[in-house]
Amino acid sequence: MAGAQTHRLGNGGLIDRSAPLNFRFDGKAFSGLQGDTLASALIANGVKLVGRSFKYHRPRGILTSGSEEPNALVELRTGARREPNTKATTAELYEGLEAASQNRWPSLRHDVMSVNQLFAPIFVAGFYYKTFMWPAKFWEAIYEPAIRRAAGLGRAAGVADPDHYDKAWAHCDVLIAGSGPAGLAAALAAGRSGARVILCEEDFVPSGRLLSDGGTIDGVPAAEWLPRTLAELAAMPDVRIMTRTTLFGVYDGGTYGAIERVNDHLPSPPEHQVRQRLWRIVAKRCVVAAGAIERPIVFAGNDTPGVMMASAMRTYVARYAATPAKRLALFTNNEDGWRTVETALGAGLQIAAVIDARADVSPAHRSLASKGGFPVLHGAVSGVDGGKDGVRKIAVSLTGGARAEVEADGLAVSGGWNPAVGLTSFHRGRPKWRDDIAAFVPDGAPPGMVAAGAANGDFGLGACLSQGFAAGAAAARDAGHNGTPGAAPVADDEAFSLTPLWHVAGKGKAFVDYQHDVTASDIELAQREGFESVEHLKRYTTLGMATDQGKTSNVAGLAIMAAVSGRSIPETGTTIYRPPYVPVAIGAFAGHHRDETFHATRLTPSHHWAVEQGAIFVDTGLWKRAQWYPRAGEKDWLESVTREVKAVRGGVGFCDVSTLGKIDVHGPDAGAFLDRVYINTFSNLAVGKARYGLMLREDGIVYDDGTTARLAEDHYFLTTTTAKAGLVMQHLEFCRQVLFPELDVQLTSVSDQWAQFSIAGPKTRDLLKEIVDPAEDLSNEGFPFMGAREVTLRGGLKARLFRISFSGEMAFEISVPARYGDALVRNLMLAGAPFGVTPYGTEALGVMRVEKGHIAGPELSGTTTAADLGLGKMMSTKKDYIGRVMAGREALIAPDRQVVVGIKPADKARRLRSGAHIIPKGQTPGPGNDQGYVTSVCFSPTSDRWIGLALVERGRERIGEIVHAHDPLRGEDYDVELCNPVFYDPDGGRQRG
C-alpha cells in the first residue's frame, strides 16, 4: 500500500476522499484522491523534487498549477502510451497512473548530468555558436551527437501510438474560452439572449480560479453561486460546456481549433473511443475569458524546489487540500499575492514572513500580519538556500540595504499577472502595454474576437463578471440574437496595487526561463552581443521556446532586456505569439487518417472479383488496381505478366479500365468547346465515332490525353487518364465557366457510373459475340475501328462499345452501368472460357502500350510538348486552343529537345531500367553530355527482350544509333540502340483487322 498523504489537509478541497487512487512516480508507490492532478497528489505526498532542467540539470519542483508549468514535466504512462513532457500540473490522476521524471541519469536525485552546472560559466547563451568548429569533421561525429543526447527532455515511446483520435466540427454563435467568472458570465448573457454557445474549459471542472479563490457573487459565496449558475447553463439546450478542452488557435473566417482530452483521465480509452478529439469550431463571435497567468520574479535561486507561484500555492491548498509547505513565506510586489497568505492561514499553515517589494502595505494586511504573528519585510528576496529537498532559508535584501533571513520550507512568489494574450495575438497582433498593471493586454484581436476580464487585464472579480457578461451579451447580439440577457452577476473588485519588480540583483543564477535555463545574465550577454531585438533575444538565448511557450518567462525576459538596453518595455515589444496555445498531440491533428485509412481507397467494379482471383493490387492515386493475376506455379511477377501479354496477343484478354476519368460533355456547343481544349478537332467527329485527343496546359506543355466519342450530336463522352481525372474535370469547368462562358455546354463526371473493360486480342470478336445480342453487327464494316455506340447485351442489358485499342490488338472497350461490372466480368470469364480468356492487370497493359510506343504517365511528365511525344502533327493550325501560342516559344520548338524514341539493349539478354540516363557512346558521362533518360521499360514477350521508351536529345533523328545507358545508382552501364518507339505491328493492321 502506498504511503500516507502526509501533506493533505484534514478537510476541504474539491477532492473525493472516498475515492483513493494508487499511482507511481519514478517507480515509487503513492496514493492520491479522485480530483487530484498528478502535481497535487505529489504535493499531498510531500514530494518536492520532480524534474531536472534542460541544460544544467538543476533540481526542479512544481512551480504552477496549470498549463503554464515549465518545470514539473514527466513521462506519463509506459510502453507504447508513454507521453514525454507531460505537465504534472494538468495530468489528472487515475488509478494505476505511472509517471517518471525526465532528463536525468541514473535517477532524479542523483543525476550525473548535473555536472553540467560546473561548466555553467562556459555554457552561457549561444556558447555553441562560438565553438565546436574544429576540426570540421568532429561536429557530426562527436560534438553534435553528444549535444543531441544531452538535449531533449522526455523520451517518446518509439513505437506506434496504440490509441485512436478523431476530429469533429462544431458550430456556434458565441464561443467562449475559459470558464472562470468572465467566461461563465459571458455564457449566461449569450445563452439567455438565445445564442448557441460553446464554452471551452481546459480544466476537468469548470469555474477557473473561482475554485481556488472563491469570493462573493450576488451576495452569496462563490461555492453557492457556481452550482446555481452551472445548472442554469446546463438547462439551456444550446449552451454546451466542454471541459478538458483547450481552445488552442484561431484561424481565418471564425474557425477555431480546440483539443478535447476525451479519455486522458483514464488509464486507456474504452473500446471504440478515442483518446483525444480535435475540434474545428466555427463561431460567429468569440469571447476570450482565458484569464491571466501569474508571473515569477527573477532572483537568485528562484528555481529551488519549493518556490512556487503564489496563486498555485493557494490552488493546491484550497482546491486540492494539499500543502506545498508547512511554513511558507510570500514574496510579492502586489496586493493579490496576499490572498495566498489568507488562504494559508485559513488552512492552518504557518506564515514565516511576507516580503513585499512595495513601499506600502494596506492596513488590513498589516493587521493580518500582526494577528498571524509574522513579519512583513519591505524588500526583495535575493537568494534561496535549499536544494533538491526544498527551500530552507530565504535571504532578503531589505529596502534601505539591510539584509534579513527567513526560515521557511516554501516560498510563494507573485510578480503580478500577465493576461493570456495568446489567442488574441495569433493573427500576428501585438498586445499593448498597460502601466497600471505593468502587463501587456490585447490590442485588438482577430475579427469577431474580444477579450474579457483578466484576459483583458481587468483582474477584479466584479470586473470579470461585468465585462464577461457584457461581452457575452454583445457577442450574442452581433450574432443576431436579441433576447434579454437579464441582470449581470455582481461582485466587488479586489484591490490590485502593484509596483513592478522583474529582477532582483544577487549572487547565483536567477532564472527567467526555467525550462530552458535562461538566466538574467544570459539576457544581459545577448544584449551585449547585439541581440537586442526581442526576436533575436528569443532565438539566441532560446527564451520562451520551451514546452511552456514562455508563459511564465517571456514578459520578464523582455523587461530585463528593456532595462539593460535602456528602452522601455513597450519599446522593446513582444515576440510574435504563435499557436497552439498549449502543445497538442500530433496524433490529434491526424485523426483517423493514419495506417490504411490515411487516405480514402477507390475500388473498381471488378475489385472483389479480382480479390477472389488472387490478384496483386497496385496503388494508382487512390485506386487499387489489379496489377497482375498470379497463377499457381508462376515463380515471379514477370512470368505472370508475360503469360497475360501472350494470352492477349494470341487469344483474348480483358482488363478493368474503369479508373479512367469519364466526362459527359453535353450541349449544342460541345464540339466547339472540345475544339478549344484539345489541340486537334472534335467538332467534325461523326456521331458514333471516337477520336484520340491531346490537351495542353496554357503554357504549351502536354496536360492529358484520352479518347473521346461522339454519342449524339450534342453529347460527347470524354475520357482522361486515371491520374488526371479530377484535375481535367476542374480544368474543363474552368474553361466552361471562366474562359468560354458564351458556349452552351454542360459537363459532368460519369467516372463512377460506368464499369469499363478493355477486351483485346485476335479472339475479341469471338468472345463479344457470346456476350452481345446476336442482332448487333460487330464486323469490321458494321463496327469499324474507332467506332462507338450503344449495344444490347444478351439478356437485354444496354452497354456501350468503343472500338479502341491501347494494346495494339483487335480490341473493344465495353461499358456497362457500374453495378453490372461484377456480373460482366464473371460473364466474360464464363463466355470466354472456350477461348482461353485471360484477365490481365496494369503491368500487362503497360507492357503492351510500350510495345506499341504509346505514351503514358512517365512521358506525360509535365515538361514535354506534343512534338516531344511525336504528336506534333495533331496540333491544328486552323483554330485557337488552350496552349497554342505558348507552345510556339523558341525553346519549346528548339531542334535539340529531348523527344520520345524507342530503345533496345544491344545485348539482347540485358534488362533495362527506367531512370538510366542516355550518354553518347564512347563519352565519359558528365553534365555536358547527359542527353536524356529512359522513361518506360518492359520485358516484351513479343520481341522476347527488354524494350523501352526514352526521352533523348534529337532522338528521332538518331534512330539506329548506339548510345550508352548510364545508371550509376544501380551500378549499370550498357549500350542501347535508339529505335522506332512502335515495336509491335507498326502499321496498325492488327487493331484495324
Partner: protein, 417 residues
C-alpha cells in the same frame, strides 16, 4: 574577436563581460558601391562574398526589421543538393560545397550537420523518377544512393512498414544532405561580413528607388533617408514583387504561405531528414530535440505569414501515416513564411530590365539550402555583370523563351510547385 573554445574559456573568467557585438550596428553612409536590399541569409551571404571573394567591401545590407526576420528565420533548416534538372543540380551542389566549409569560412558554428536526407518512394513510378534524379546527381558528381525496402527498414526501422495505405518501397538517399542552424547562418554571415567592413543596417525599410535621367538606378530611398548605390541587388524573397513594383517591374512570382511546425523537445528519435512520398510531410529533429516538420504550402496567395488548419492537419496526417510513433508527441509551435513561388518552381538570379538593379528571387520553399550558393553567384553577378556559370539558367527571360526549369512538371501554376 575570434570565437573558439579558448576565447570562450577566457571570457568565462571575466564573466562574459567583454564580448563585442556580433556585428557592428552601422549608420547608413551616403553612398555604397553595392546596396543589398534584404538582411536575410541570401542578402548577408551576398555581401560577405562580395567582400571576401570579389574585394568589394563598400557594401550595405538594408534590412526592414531585424536581420533574419524573413524566411531565413522561419524555415525547416534543411540542406541538400538532390535536384534533377540542368540548372538546378550544379547550382545546389555549389551551395552544398559552401555549406561544408561554412563554419571555417565564417568562424561561426552554424551547426551544419550532414546526417542525410532520404526521399521515400512508394511506387514503381516514384522509384523510376528518383532513379532518374539520382543518376543526374551522380553524373554531376553528387552523392546519391537508391535504397530498396530492406535498406530503408534497416536505416529507419520505426516507419510504418506493416499497415500503411501507401507502403514505403525504398528511398533516394543523399548522405551529405542534412540541416543547419538557420539563425546562426544569418548571424554568422553578419558577423563575418561586418568584420570585413560591410554595413548591416537594421530597421531600414526601402521605400523606393532613385534613378538618373537614363533610368539607371542610382540608389534607394529608405525609412532612414536616401542611400546612393553603384548597384542595387534585391534579395527579399517573400516580398520580391512588392520591391520590384517600386521599380515598375512585374515578376513571374506569386507569394504563398508555407507553414512549418516544431514539436516539444524529446530525446533523439529521428536520425536525419526524411520526406514522405505519399503525402505532404518532411521531418528532421533539431539538436535541441524538437521535431521540425512541414508539408505543402497553403495554396493561396498570402502575405499574412500564418496558415490555416487544413494544411496543418494534412501535414500531421502525413506524419502519422509515415511514423505513427509520433502520435503522442505534441506540436509546440506553428508558423508561416511567405514564399516567392515562381512560375516553374526554380529561382531567378539575373539583371533586371532596369539598369543597375539586380534580382535574386523566386526561391519557392527551397531558399534556405541555397543560402551560400545564392550569395556566391549573386555576388558574382553584381561584381562581374555576367551570371556565374552555375546560375546561367536562372535567367528572368527563361519564361519568355520557354526554357523553364520545372522539376515538378506543374507549369505556370505556382501553388503546385
Amino acid at each position: 574577436m575570434k570565437y573558439s573554445i579558448f576565447s570562450l574559456a577566457r571570457a568565462a573568467l571575466s564573466g562574459h563581460k567583454n564580448w563585442q557585438r556580433t556585428w557592428r550596428d552601422a549608420t547608413p553612409k551616403d553612398r555604397y558601391d553595392v546596396v543589398i536590399i534584404g538582411g536575410g541569409g541570401h542578402g548577408l551571404a551576398t555581401a560577405w562574398f562580395l567582400a571576401s571573394e570579389y574585394g568589394i567591401k563598400n557594401v550595405a545590407v538594408l534590412e526592414k526589421g531585424w536581420i533574419g526576420s524573413g524566411n531565413a528565420g522561419r524555415n525547416t533548416t534543411i540542406i541538400r543538393s538532390n535536384y534533377g534538372l540542368p540548372g538546378n543540380t550544379g547550382f545546389y551542389e555549389l551551395s552544398m560545397k559552401l555549406w561544408e566549409r561554412m563554419e571555417q569560412d565564417l568562424n561561426y558554428n552554424t551547426m551544419v550537420s550532414q546526417r542525410g536526407v532520404i526521399n521515400l518512394y512508394h511506387s514503381d513510378a516514384q522509384r523510376d523518377a528518383y532513379a532518374r534524379r539520382g543518376n543526374t546527381m551522380r553524373i554531376n558528381g553528387i552523392d546519391a544512393e537508391l535504397l530498396d525496402l530492406a535498406a530503408v527498414r534497416k536505416m529507419i526501422p520505426f516507419l510504418n512498414f506493416d499497415n500503411a495505405r501507401f507502403p514505403v518501397q525504398g528511398g533516394l538517399l543523399q548522405r551529405r544532405g542534412g540541416t543547419a542552424r538557420h539563425d546562426a547562418v544569418v548571424w554568422g554571415y553578419a558577423h563575418a561580413a561586418s568584420a570585413l567592413g560591410v554595413d548591416i543596417i537594421q530597421n531600414c525599410e526601402v521605400t523606393g528607388f532613385t534613378c538618373d535621367a537614363k533610368g539607371k538606378v542610382t540608389g534607394v530611398e529608405t525609412s532612414r533617408g536616401k542611400i546612393g548605390a553603384g548597384k542595387v541587388g534585391m534579395a527579399v524573397a517573400g516580398s520580391s514583387s512588392r520591391v520590384a513594383a517600386m521599380a515598375g517591374l512585374r515578376l513571374p512570382i506569386e507569394s504563398h504561405v508555407l507553414q512549418a511546425f516544431v514539436s516539444e523537445a524529446i530525446k533523439p528519435l529521428i536520425p536525419g531528414v526524411m520526406t514522405f512520398g505519399a503525402g505532404h510531410f518532411y521531418v528532421s529533429q533539431s539538436d535541441k530535440g524538437g521535431l521540425v516538420f512541414g508539408g505543402d504550402i497553403d495554396g493561396y496567395n498570402s502575405y499574412a505569414q500564418r496558415g490555416n488548419m487544413p494544411v496543418m492537419e494534412d501535414v500531421c496526417e502525413g506524419g502519422m501515416a509515415l511514423m505513427p510513433m509520433i502520435g503522442r508527441v505534441r506540436l509546440l509551435r506553428q508558423w508561416g513564411g511567405i514564399m516567392d513561388m515562381s512560375m516553374d518552381g526554380s529561382p531567378i538570379i539575373d539583371k533586371t530590365p532596369v539598369d543597375g538593379l539586380y534580382i535574386n528571387a523566386g526561391w519557392c520553399y527551397g531558399g534556405f539550402k541555397a543560402t551560400p550558393g545564392s550569395g556566391f553567384v549573386f555576388a558574382h553577378l553584381l561584381a562581374r555583370d555576367v551570371p556565374h556559370e552555375e546560375a546561367a539558367r536562372f535567367r528572368l527571360d527563361r519564361f519568355r523563351r520557354g526554357a523553364m526549369i520545372d522539376e515538378k512538371g506543374q507549369g505556370a501554376q505556382p501553388n503546385l510547385h
